[in-house]
């Protein structure tokens, strides 16, 4: 790979969207090319600066309640799609329905045509679905934690007597992934340990259960959530989060370092 080719791929790589063969070629080039390495570092630094400092605006308190109320009015008063909005929040205006419809249709057509998906075998697929469903359920029901503690020596013993195995629990606060606690969950037809880590506004669920398989590390994306899977010391691990794949991989690597 020469510098021209490398420079074209830098951003895609920084965004974690470069396929494996290209990524390793680019990495090899970066090893040997200080100029490209500097460009890559500048890009990574800019991204880190934006991610660290740009405001993530969280919805104001009470908005969820106001929206729920509006939705209830809407579905009880106006069951059909053609009827007028029950009550606009503060102003009223007419909508350009056809354009919106067309734009949405385009968006969906696009989503179909751009099929850049990782294809995995069927059993894995249903397991992934279950994991994402569990992750979402924990976020929604606000039942993320049975034991809330950033102390690994509190979380690990909590699982005693609740599971037929003892998961390794490691706080990674120093690496930017703070342990928040754990809970019991049920995935793939068995009770599992779910450890919860926080990274900025993102929550990571780490599912752990015993396995005699020795799977190659794998990743997938479902419903906007990213999954990473690996096995280590006769345990199967799945990390699920809305965190981007690059940082989720950093989480995995930080964890793996503690497991040697």
């Amino acid at each position: 790979m020469n510098c021209d080719q490398a420079l074209k791929l830098l951003a895609t790589h920084a965004d974690g969207e470069l396929g494996l063969p290209h990524a390793s070629e680019l990495e090899a080039h970066l090893q040997g090319c200080a100029d490209c390495r500097a460009q890559f570092a500048a890009l990574t630094e800019l991204r880190a600066g934006v991610r660290m400092h740009a405001a993530y605006h969280a919805a104001p308190a009470g908005l969820a309640t106001r929206i729920r109320a509006a939705l209830e009015r809407e579905s009880s008063v106006a069951p059909s799609a053609a009827s007028a909005p029950a009550e606009s929040p503060r102003r009223r205006w007419t909508w350009a329905w056809p354009q919106i419809g067309a734009a949405l249709a385009m968006a969906f057509a696009l989503a179909w045509s751009v099929g850049l998906y990782l294809v995995l075998p069927g059993a894995e697929e249903s397991l992934e679905k279950e994991l994402v469903a569990s992750h979402v359920r924990a976020l929604m029901a606000d039942h993320a934690l049975d034991v809330a503690s950033s102390d690994q020596h509190t979380v690990k013993p909590w699982f005693n007597g609740k599971l037929d195995f003892s998961p390794e629990v490691t706080d990674l606060a120093a690496q930017g992934f703070a342990l928040a606690g754990g809970r019991l969950d049920y995935v793939g037809g068995r009770p599992v340990a779910a450890l919860v880590y926080l990274h900025r506004q993102h929550r990571i669920n780490l599912y752990v259960w015993p396995s005699d398989r020795n799977d190659a590390p794998a990743g997938a994306t479902r419903q906007g959530y990213h999954l990473l899977h690996w096995t280590r010391n006769a345990m199967s691990y799945w990390a699920v989060s809305d965190l981007n794949p690059v940082e989720l991989a950093q989480f995995r690597d930080a964890l793996l370092k503690t497991m040697r």
């Binding site: 929206i67 919106i100 949405l104 969906f108 906007g224």
Partner: protein
Amino acid sequence: MAEENKAQRFEALMLPHLDAAWNLARWLTRSDHDAEDVVQEAFLRALRFFEGFHGAQSRPWLLAIVRNTAYSWMEKNRDATVPLAEDGSHDGVEEAGPETLAMRGDARRRVNDALARLPAEYREVMVLRELEDLSYREIAQVAAIPMGTVMSRLARGRKLLSGYLAGGEKERIR
């Protein structure tokens, strides 16, 4: 599908993305007041379009509607929309941290100002990529543009952004 079930399913699938919806609306309109209207309206519209949602990814699906709603809203209320605050005071989020607050506050202000100053088509892809962690494919879906355009807008947006940040306050590149 019974209406009640539909409404429940809608809430269960879409309300978890409320913060994402707000963040996008807030960055597009650059005002809390406008974002409130946009997000409320977007949820109502999403409910009406929900029949057309067939288990695809819910967050990009909802954000596409938020984005369209925000643009229609700004089109309709051009005079009413708050112009970009030049003093950077639009940053409403403050977290107290152990870091040197002055330095951090400055970096925060500069990054937020620079991002707010980006033209909307670059600002939206940057927000979707860096703050929402969406993939290229998901951004393409939300912004209704091809993936190649996502990549070129991100590249351009980042270039502009580093220019704003390097140029400090003197240069207004808009």
